[in-house]
Every structure is written in structure tokens, then in C-alpha cells.
């Protein structure tokens, strides 16, 4: 087990800089998820930790030792690839033991490690099969098994579930979580799926265009995002954003007027970073933070467009002037397209962002 530290890590491909000075501290035994949209640099960061990409600037340390120039095999890591990367001509058993055999590991120890991995992942029955004779989930288990037999200090997962169907993905997610508890080893997991990030991570690193936007525990990111990007990326369905303007300020508070909702106003306490009178701002409200008419501090009339009934909750996609809002309602299973209803926003449940997307608090 080992901590992983990234200090001002930069990655350039030719003249293009794709990771701009990432600083991330991952504690020993922690499960950290790198999440972000395609092209944000999350897989590149993981591959730099693995040693499959050169580091253009900064340092990466594993267990306190800088490993920038250390060979991938000597970094004490094991990686699970998105495409499984199993050796197609070898049986499951040969796949698991290949690395150990190539390195002259004693036969008895190799057998012990392979047996243990097979037991942990419940693939004992599959040992003599070849990858093409396995289902997607079984292949992914073998890929994880190959990582386990290396007994690494750090596990790296590069979008390991993205080739699986929805049901299998949930099942494997639970298994990876169980594996982390069982092995207690540091795990770094890359995904673009924020549900995977929220359910698996001790802490999430949100990346956008090569920059670390925020690092924190899943619910901290959900409740207290640092900016509009994190607020929009974490949470499903995503947060609603309403255009607004600062129309009045007092000594202790500012009045925000929503741009497209008939002059609806909210009162927010002033802070150091509060924009000046007349500045345009954005109000962020999560779907579950719309209340019944009159229950909040400001009511907005909306018109239902489409309703998604998921059983325990329903999401109503509603139009409010030119803005589309997603409203979570327990009672909304009655709502039909074209229905008019009113939602209410509570000041303390609404987040405020400036025009550039930075959080105002």
C-alpha cells in the first residue's frame, strides 16, 4: 500500500499541453476517482502514473518516492484496461500467471497468487477457458485478477466498466467496491460516469480541459461545488441554471432578480466576492430542491414538457420562459405534457455563480 502524490504534473503532446500542472494527494488505501468529460486528461494522468506516458513536467511520487524515471513494472502499480487487454491466445490461468512466470517468480508462489485471485473474483471455474469464451463481465474479472496477482501498492483502473451493459456495470461496481474493502489498497479509478464516481470514491477529482476543478468527497462536491462546471457535472439529473441579475444591495444582503421569470426575486447574504450592483449572475438549483408553491422564498410558474417516471421519483422536464428546468417530484407522476404548475426556490438551497462560473459564497 502506498500514497500517491502528483505535484505540478504537466503533460504535453508536441506543442499541445493537455494537463496543466495537476496537484493531487492520494492517501494510502484511499479510493480516488478521476472524473471529467472526454478529453479532460483523466486517462492521460492515469497513464502517467502507470508509466505508459512520459511526464512533461512536475513530479509523481508513489510511497514517497518520485517515480518519474522509474520503469512502469517497477512502480508497484497494476492497471486494469478499458478493453481488458487480455492475452487472447492464453487461458485465464495463463493470463493471470504470465507476468509472474516471465519474471521467474517461484512456481509455488505463482500458483498461490493465482489461486487467491481466482477465489477473490470467483473465477475458479473459468481457469482453462480463453478470453473469447468469456462474457464481458468475466473478462473484466480476469483483467482485475491479473492486477491482483501482482500484489501492487496501487491499483489503476482506466474506465474498466464502460464496455459492459448497464446491469453488469452495477454488479461490477459493487464488486470493485468490495475488492477495495477486502484488499485495503490504494485505488485510482478513471471514469466519465459521475454515478460510478459518486458510488465508488472516497474522494473525487473533477477534471476539465486538463485542469483539476475540485477535489473532495462525493457528497461534498454535490453539496458544495467550487464552480458551475463541478455543479453541473456532479449529480444526475444535472443542476438547473437560471440567469439572474444583482438588482439591489443592502449592508448585509443582495437582491437577485431572475431574468426570465416575471421579476421573481431572491435575497442572498453578501460576501466578499459578491459581484457589484447590476452584475449578471447564475442561480444553480438541483432538481430535488424545487419545492411546492409557497414553500420557498420565490415562486416560478412552469409548464411541463416531458415527465420521466422512475418509480420512487419522477423528473419533469419543464419550460420556464426560455429556460428548461428539471424538477424532481414525488407527486409528479400525475403531471402530463402541457400541465402548468408552480415551483418554489429556497434561498439556502440555491447556489450562486458569477458570469465566469466561479461560486459566490
Amino acid at each position: 500500500m502506498a500514497a500517491v502524490t502528483l505535484t505540478n504534473v504537466v503533460k504535453r503532446f508536441g506543442i499541445f499541453e493537455v494537463v496543466h500542472g495537476a496537484n493531487i494527494d492520494i492517501a494510502d488505501g484511499e479510493f480516488v476517482v478521476f472524473v471529467g468529460p472526454s478529453g479532460c486528461g483523466k486517462s492521460t494522468l492515469l497513464r502517467m502514473i502507470a508509466g505508459l506516458e512520459d511526464i512533461s513536467g512536475g513530479d509523481i511520487a508513489i510511497g514517497g518516492k518520485v517515480i518519474n524515471d522509474v520503469e512502469p513494472a517497477d512502480r508497484g502499480i497494476a492497471m486494469v484496461f478499458q478493453s481488458y487487454a487480455l492475452y487472447p491466445h492464453m487461458t485465464v490461468e495463463q493470463n493471470l500467471s504470465f507476468g509472474l512466470r516471465m519474471n521467474g517468480n517461484p512456481k509455488a508462489d505463482t500458483e498461490r497468487r493465482v489461486k487467491r485471485a481466482a477465489e477473490i473474483l470467483r473465477i475458479d471455474e473459468l481457469m482453462q477457458r480463453r478470453p473469447k469464451q468469456l462474457s464481458g463481465g468475466q473478462r473484466q474479472r480476469v483483467a482485475i485478477g491479473r492486477a491482483i496477482v501482482r500484489e501492487p501498492q496501487v491499483f489503476l483502473f482506466d474506465e474498466p466498466l464502460s464496455n459492459l451493459d448497464a446491469e453488469l456495470r452495477v454488479q461490477m461496481r459493487v464488486e470493485i467496491s468490495r475488492l477495495h474493502k477486502e484488499l485495503g489498497v490504494t485505488m485510482i479509478y478513471v471514469t466519465h460516469d459521475q454515478t460510478e464516481a459518486m458510488t465508488l470514491a472516497d474522494r473525487i477529482v473533477v477534471l476539465k480541459a486538463g485542469n483539476v476543478e475540485q477535489i473532495g468527497a462525493p457528497l461534498d462536491l454535490y453539496d458544495d461545488p467550487a464552480n458551475r462546471f463541478v455543479a453541473g457535472f456532479i449529480g444526475s439529473p444535472k443542476m438547473n441554471f437560471l440567469s439572474a441579475k444583482v438588482v439591489e444591495t443592502t449592508n448585509s444582503a443582495a437582491i437577485i432578480e431572475l431574468a426570465h421569470h416575471g421579476g421573481a426575486r431572491l435575497r442572498k447574504p453578501l460576501c466578499e466576492t459578491f459581484p457589484a450592483l447590476g452584475a449578471e449572475v447564475v442561480l444553480g438549483v438541483r432538481p430535488e430542491h424545487f419545492f411546492e408553491a409557497g414553500e420557498g422564498d420565490c415562486d416560478i410558474p412552469v409548464k411541463a414538457d416531458v415527465a420521466e417516471h422512475l418509480g420512487s421519483v419522477s423528473y419533469v422536464y419543464a419550460n420556464a420562459g426560455p429556460e428548461e428546468l428539471i424538477v424532481e417530484r414525488e407527486a409528479s407522476r400525475q403531471r402530463a405534457s402541457g400541465d402548468h404548475f408552480t415551483v418554489s426556490i429556497k434561498t439556502e438551497r440555491a447556489l450562486l455563480f458569477d458570469k465566469a462560473g466561479a461560486r459566490i459564497r
Partner: protein, 286 residues
């Protein structure tokens, strides 16, 4: 459905007719002819005449020995060379990859007569560049066309030069279909590049290599151009005569079509037998 099929077959008829007349019939006809004595007029049915002669004919065994010798030495060397060329062509370090790819493939599109003439010049005893090079490094020059061993070596060099690049391009396609992350996984497993080649690349290339080997075996069993043009009709003294050349000599010089047909069927039978043995040896484990 039946009407649709009839229409389809009507469209196919011209091709099927040509196929039947120029492919199917000659195959059947030559099989029948192989059981006939064709040096008499009229030809007469004599089932053991050609096949009996074939079994005891020293010229046949000489051609068979030469053909198998070329097959056993040249085909493995050429496939090995093609693999090396393909790996080099696939290297990310290689600049002007397209140019090399073209250069390796170019021998296939060069006319057989032209390339044979150039080879004869290059390996000429007194004027050839090869002997000049040998002399420049202090080695004795070789009379490539008058001695059997150098003449056989020359045939093998020529065939290898002509077909190695072609096979390399096929193997390159196979190489490029191996996913990069398999090698990355092996790198993380501390498997050296050399071992990756032997334990990952070669096994995964096996189907492509088998394909190239089968094509090469069939090609070598029919080898004709090089011994005919480069070593002058299988010279010296039949030392490079192949089955293809024996067939030509019997069929079109001596007009002994019966015997030539028996040789042709023997060549085809041997090619099928060797290919089947190879496919069996290289079969995928269940």
C-alpha cells in the same frame, strides 16, 4: 424466390460457361489424359503408363528433390524475413514508412522477365555486381550459373527477394490488428520487448503466418519462372529443375501431355498434402 434464382443464374451463365470450359473441363480432361499414352497416335487408355513411369523416373525425383529443397529452405527463411520486415515497418521510429512499404512491395509488380534479366546480370561471373562485392571484401567470386549449389542458392535468393515484401505487407496488416494495450499490459508485467515478440506477437500472428506459408507452399510447388529464366531452364544439367519446369518440358517441349498431366496432379496433390499437414500442426488448441 425460384424466379429470382433463375434470373440470377441467367446472369451468371456467361461466367459459368467460361469457368466450365477453361477451368473445370481442363481439370477433368488432364486427369483423364494422365491415364493415357499420349506419345502414340491415336492416344490410348493405359492406366499405369504415365503413373508407372513417374514412380521410376529419376528426372521426376530430381525435380521433386529440388522443389522440396527450395520449399524447406526458402519458405521458412522468407517468412522469417517477412516477419522482421513487417515489425520494422510497424515501428513508430521509422520515418517515410509509406516509401518503405512501397519499396518492399515493388518486386511483386516488376515484370518476371525484366527482374530475371537483372538478376542474371547482377550474378554474372565476370561482370556481376555481386561477384564484384564479394571480391571487394576478399572473397572468391562464385560461378552462380555453372554449379548446382550456387544456382539453387540463386533461385532461393531471387524468389525470396520477389515475395518477402509481399508477405511482409500481409503480416504488417496482422501486426496492426494486435491491440496496443496488450503490449502495455505486458510492459506493466515486466515482459521485455523480445519476450513480448515471442510470447505475444508471434502467437497472435499465427493465423496470418499460416496463411502466408500456405500461399508460399502453393507458389513454390508451382515454381517455374526463376529456374526457367534465371538458371536457363533448370540448369546446370537439371540441377535447378523444379516440378513446374519438368511439367513444362514434358508437356510443351516433348508434347507428352499424359505424363505432364500426371506431374501436374502430383504437384497439386503434394501442395494439398503439405498444406493440410501444416494446418494440422498449426491448429488452434481447443
Amino acid at each position: 424466390m425460384r424466379t429470382q434464382n433463375a434470373t440470377a443464374y441467367r446472369f451468371l451463365t456467361p461466367y459459368l460457361l467460361i469457368f466450365a470450359i477453361f477451368w473445370i473441363w481442363p481439370i477433368i480432361s488432364s486427369f483423364i489424359i494422365s491415364f493415357q499414352a499420349t506419345r502414340t497416335v491415336p492416344w490410348r487408355f493405359a492406366p499405369t503408363f504415365n503413373w508407372g513411369r513417374l514412380i521410376g523416373d529419376p528426372a521426376f525425383y530430381n525435380a521433386l528433390k529440388n522443389t522440396l529443397l527450395i520449399l524447406v529452405i526458402q519458405v521458412p527463411v522468407m517468412i522469417a524475413l517477412a516477419i522482421v520486415m513487417a515489425v520494422l515497418l510497424n515501428s513508430p521510429l521509422l520515418k517515410a514508412r509509406g516509401l518503405y512499404r512501397f519499396a518492399f512491395f515493388a518486386p511483386v509488380v516488376v515484370g518476371e522477365v525484366a527482374y530475371s534479366a537483372v538478376f542474371r546480370l547482377m550474378f554474372s561471373l565476370d561482370f556481376g555486381i555481386v561477384n564484384k562485392l564479394l571480391e571487394s571484401v576478399g572473397l572468391a567470386k562464385i560461378d552462380w550459373f555453372s554449379n548446382v549449389t550456387p544456382a539453387m542458392a540463386l533461385i532461393m535468393i531471387a524468389v525470396t527477394w520477389r515475395w518477402a515484401g509481399y508477405n511482409a505487407i500481409i503480416i504488417l496488416a496482422g501486426l496492426q490488428s494486435i491491440p496496443e494495450d496488450v503490449y502495455e499490459a505486458a510492459t506493466l508485467d515486466r515482459v521485455s520487448k523480445l519476450r513480448q515478440f515471442f510470447y505475444i506477437t508471434l502467437p497472435l500472428l499465427k493465423p496470418v503466418i499460416v496463411f502466408c506459408a500456405v500461399l508460399s507452399i502453393i507458389g513454390t510447388m508451382q515454381l517455374f519462372t526463376e529456374p526457367f529464366l534465371i538458371t536457363e531452364r533448370g540448369g546446370p544439367g537439371g540441377g535447378t529443375e523444379t516440378l513446374g519446369l519438368l511439367l513444362y518440358r514434358q508437356g510443351f517441349r516433348s508434347l507428352n501431355f499424359g505424363y505432364a498431366s500426371a506431374v501436374a496432379y502430383t504437384m497439386a496433390g503434394l501442395a494439398i498434402a503439405i498444406t493440410l499437414v501444416q494446418l494440422w500442426l498449426m491448429r488452434e488448441p481447443k
